[in-house]
């Protein structure tokens, strides 16, 4: 097995995730795309852990999974709050930051 086959798979997933973040207007979909990105990073970490023969990559992957769970929890709570106030979760309508 080549190192690169995993790394490039991760890169592809990452870029698909990036596309999703940019293209989607539904906040839940954006969160899903972010999950894709996080998973690609985890894949990288595990591949490097095997390559370097250390456990550190596993630890980081586990921590990322935990943080991702926390992020989804808070993120969906935010989405819920936005929906309750606006009856919509379209990100385009949330443009108070407009300069």
């Amino acid at each position: 097995m080549l190192v690169n086959q995993f790394l490039i798979l991760a890169a592809v997933l990452f870029c698909i995730g990036v596309y999703g973040v940019i293209a989607r207007r539904n906040a839940v979909m954006v969160l899903m795309s972010i999950e894709l990105i996080l998973n690609s990073v985890n894949l990288n970490l595990i591949a490097f852990a095997l390559r370097n023969g250390s456990v550190d990559g596993h630890i980081f992957a586990l921590y990322i999974i935990a943080v991702a769970a926390a992020e989804v929890g808070v993120g969906l709570a935010l989405v819920l709050l936005v929906y309750r106030n606006r009856k919509s979760i379209g990100l385009e309508e949330l443009s108070e930051m407009k300069g």
């Binding site: 990036v18 940019i22 990100l91 385009e92 443009s95 108070e96 407009k98 300069g99």
Partner: protein, 860 residues
């Protein structure tokens, strides 16, 4: 292990004594920390609202610190001449993460004990003083809680054995300083001053973090290898700095970064602006934090890591470096500023800044001992001055601090305050034989002796100015005719607003209406007690601390009275680290050769990084004792190991033997002071140095007489001018600054504090806060308008006859065009700020992609 090594130590001729207080000095900061928690949680329910806990904890720390100091003196006396007096270091693992060990512990030596005793002592007195000064205050309990926490932080910093612990204490102090300056935060000026102090010192603290990291990453491997401690350890850093192994860039950068933190904390130029504003806090706070203890933290840090600065700033043998430069500038500019202040506390604040400049300058020139001694003496007389100023405002001037408006002639009403003030003033000016003389004059003398000639002159000029501005303040406060509140005037309506507010810059005309209500509540007592009658002496809670401090202001200097000969130089003996080469302790002590060492006397220093507790001192004593051969013992030999093999753990035994220095060396090394030591000059061949060699100027009465003459000239001249100016109102002096243009400009320059505040607030702060908006606005106002106007004017000027043909089109075109360009640029950038998250994301990732591309191009 403990008992065994102690037994071994008893038999040693050169073993160092220790004791319970010294070994357990780490308890000292814990006491006020616990007291703080108790005050916060239960203080309000206690009969004295928590203040008794604060005072009790301070007394307890004072006792412990005093005990430790006595045992340290014992320890020094038990050492042979020229022997390195190992500090009492203990450390525990605090936490570790990913192979990154952080310890917490104590590093007790002369320096830390000196500052510790000063902090404990002044804190005790100030807390007693505060019992009366803040009686009936709205946040009485919180005040004592903060004051106690401050002491805990400072003591923690002082005893810290590593940089992380030091930073912890340093930041606790910063926090307490903020809370105490803003104690009466209802007044906007106070909360502003608190914020300013906080932000200014924090600006410097970036340097502390950066410097600590630089030093850690460059020193860690060396210290781990040679001493078995981490790169945060103060002992390790000191040894590393003098080992000749650090690269000059690393240590210079580290020293500079650390010094930036010292500039912030110790109010050195150009970050001194926060300290005078910090006088907005209650007077006891000014006395404790902002004159005698917290602000010397920067000086303390330089003294603590002196080897690092010694190497990094190239102190030895140069005639100017960054530290002396900053110190020298600070002395002069702060002293100048003190002349134009009308607020008695601000005079003292600038005086403090100036004196801190002396300490820095001394340290920068290698006058370590005089600078540290100046910390010691300055603490007493400056605390006394502040408390006296507080006493004046408390009982004499109806809570005003304005010397010109509300004071004058108070010596008749407040004799104790007056006498203590005058004693402390003379001590501050450095009049023989008060304490200031023995420290300040030594600094000036040693600075000159070390080759920093310019700075000696700066020091003498500073001494002159000190004498002059203090005389001015004394005259305005205690002599002449009583004015304003001191004359017993009542300001029932207007006066309330003018003088009713306590400790802050009086007469600066800010928000009277806004805070008047708050102060009615806080200090209503003041008007009941004092408003009805004129100035009078304060009560015993205030005068007793004053008298004690004044006594010390007289006598403290005798602890290191250089003029009276070497016998009197006790401080030098007790606290100055001896610049001798110390055997590579850890490696020497694990040698296999010495079979008589039982397993449990074998110290755990080898793996001290992970051992639960490390008592270095006892082992060191043992190791030293074993290293010295019988001959060497007979003529008490220092551990100047000259022929030791290259340092290496395996060769510990050999090394130990090599410490048996030949007699020839012992004679030379015994008098390291006269012959000089190699520490700091050359790389020690074996073992390590913990302190660099510094020169000591021999005392000469002629030099002292010169500086005395300068001081008296300042005193007398200023007195005469003051009498003329403030009492007789002689025409020549009165309004001099208005009549002479140059003087007027200088006066305005000083009154505006060199416009530094303007620079910081108006230019830097706002520049950072709205740089783009401001820049765009400026371009709009100046350049675009300029183009439009210029074009318009030019067109008018050239000829009117083209008006109908060309003008109409060209100029209008230019005007419209420039407008369109501006609008176009704005319009082009505007969609970027769309507020749409997706587009931000697209920009983010596209930028990342471009950055990645650039990196690849660069690297291939």
């Amino acid at each position: 292990m403990f008992a065994a090594s102690e037994a071994a130590a008893e038999t040693a001729a050169v073993a160092l004594k220790s004791g319970w207080f010294l070994e357990n000095a780490w308890i000292i900061p814990i006491i006020p920390a616990v007291a703080f928690a108790l005050i916060i949680f239960f203080g309000k329910k206690l009969p004295m609202k928590g203040s008794e806990l604060g005072v009790l904890s301070m007394v307890a720390t004072l006792v412990l610190a005093g005990g430790a100091a006595f045992q340290w003196i014992d320890r020094v006396n038990s050492a042979s001449e020229g022997q390195y007096i190992e500090p009492v270091i203990r450390s525990w693992n605090w936490w570790q993460s990913g192979g990154f060990d952080l310890s917490i512990g104590q590093h007790m030596d002369g320096l830390s004990l000196t500052v510790l005793v000063v902090v404990a002592f002044i804190s005790t007195l100030v807390q007693i003083y505060s019992l009366e000064y803040l009686r009936g205050d709205r946040r009485y309990t919180h005040f004592f809680a903060s004051l106690t926490l401050f002491s805990a932080g400072m003591m923690n910093m002082v005893i810290a054995d590593n940089m992380i612990q030091l930073i912890l204490g340093w930041e606790i102090m910063g926090l307490c300083s903020f809370m105490l300056i803003g104690h009466w935060w209802e007044d906007k000026a106070n909360s502003r001053a608190a914020l300013k102090a906080f932000f200014t010192t924090r600006t410097g603290d970036i340097g502390l973090l950066v410097g600590t990291s630089i030093l850690f990453f460059s020193a860690n491997s060396w210290t781990q290898e040679h001493l078995g401690v981490s790169g945060f350890s103060i002992r390790g850093l000191s040894a590393w700095a003098l080992s000749g192994s650090p690269g000059s860039v690393a240590i210079t950068a580290g020293a500079f970064a650390l010094f930036v933190a010292c500039i912030g904390k110790s109010g050195q130029f150009p970050l001194h602006t926060w300290l005078p504003d910090a006088m907005a806090g209650p007077t006891p706070v000014s006395s404790l934090l902002h004159s005698s203890t917290m602000v010397v933290a920067g000086v303390f840090l330089v003294a603590r890591l002196f080897p690092v600065f010694y190497e990094g700033m190239n102190i030895y043998g140069s005639s100017m470096n960054f530290i002396t430069l900053i110190g020298g500038i600070t002395i002069i500019i702060a002293a100048l500023l003190a002349f134009v202040q009308d607020d008695i506390k601000k005079v003292l604040a600038y005086s403090t800044v100036s004196q801190l400049g002396y300490m820095m300058m001394g340290l920068g020139a290698g006058a370590w001992l005089p600078a540290v001694f100046h910390i010691f003496t300055h603490a007493f007389f400056k605390a006394c001055l502040f408390l006296a100023a507080g006493s004046v405002s408390h009982s004499g001037s109806h809570h005003s601090f304005d010397m010109k408006k509300d004071m004058g002639g108070l010596r008749k009403y407040m004799p104790i305050t007056f006498v203590t003030w005058v004693i402390s003033t003379l001590a501050l000016c450095g009049v023989f034989p008060l304490s200031g003389f023995f420290s300040k004059d030594e600094i000036i003398d040693n600075v000159g002796y070390a080759g920093y000639d310019i700075f000696m002159i700066v020091g003498l000029v500073g001494a002159f100015m000190t004498a002059a501005y203090m005389t001015r303040a004394t005259y305005l406060t205690f002599f002449g005719e009583p004015r304003g509140a001191a004359a017993g005037e009542h300001h029932e309506e207007a006066g309330h607003d003018d003088h009713g507010h306590d400790a802050h810059a009086a007469g600066h005309g800010h928000g009277h209406d806004a805070h008047a209500a708050g102060h009615h509540d806080d200090h209503g007592h003041g008007h009941d007690d004092h408003g009805s009658h004129g100035p009078h002496e304060s009560n015993a809670f205030i005068t007793v601390p004053l008298v004690i401090l004044a006594t010390l202001a007289i006598g403290a200097g005798l602890l290191n009275a250089t003029p009276f000969g070497e016998k009197w130089e006790n401080m030098k003996k007790w606290i100055e680290p001896r610049p001798v080469v110390v055997g590579d302790v850890d490696h020497a002590s694990v040698g296999e050769v010495r079979g008589f060492r039982t397993a449990d006397t074998l110290p755990a220093t080898q793996d001290s990084a992970v051992s639960e507790e490390t008592v270095l001192t006892e082992e060191t004593a043992v190791a030293m004792e074993e290293g010295v051969s019988p001959e060497a013992k007979a003529a008490p030999a220092p551990l100047m190991a000259t022929a030791a093999p290259a340092a290496g753990g395996e060769e510990g035994g050999e090394e130990a033997i090599a410490y048996a220095a030949e007699d020839g060396h012992s004679a030379e090394a015994g008098g390291y002071d006269s012959h000089g030591s190699d520490c700091g000059k050359k790389t020690p061949e074996a073992g390590v140095c913990y302190a660099p060699y510094v020169k000591h100027a021999p005392f000469k009465w002629a030099k002292a007489a010169l500086s005395m003459a300068i001081v008296f000239a300042g005193l007398i001249l200023s007195w005469l001018v003051s009498v003329q100016l403030y009492t007789r109102k002689r025409g020549f002096f009165v309004g001099l600054t208005q009549k002479n243009k140059l003087l007027a400009a200088g006066h305005a320059f000083l009154v505006n504090k060199y416009y530094l505040d303007h620079l910081y607030e108006k230019i830097i702060v706002r520049g950072i806060a709205h740089p783009i908006a401001k820049g765009a606005y400026w371009i709009n106002q100046n350049i675009l308008d300029g183009i439009i106007n210029g074009t318009g004017i030019g067109a008018k000027g050239v000829a009117r006859w083209v008006y109908r043909n060309v003008d109409q089109r060209v100029v209008d075109g230019a005007v419209n065009g420039s407008g369109a360009v501006a609008r176009g640029a704005g319009g082009a950038l505007r969609p970027v700020q769309s507020g749409k998250v997706n587009q931000y994301g697209a920009l983010l990732f596209a930028a990342a992609a471009v950055a990645g591309l650039v990196l690849i191009i660069i690297n291939t």
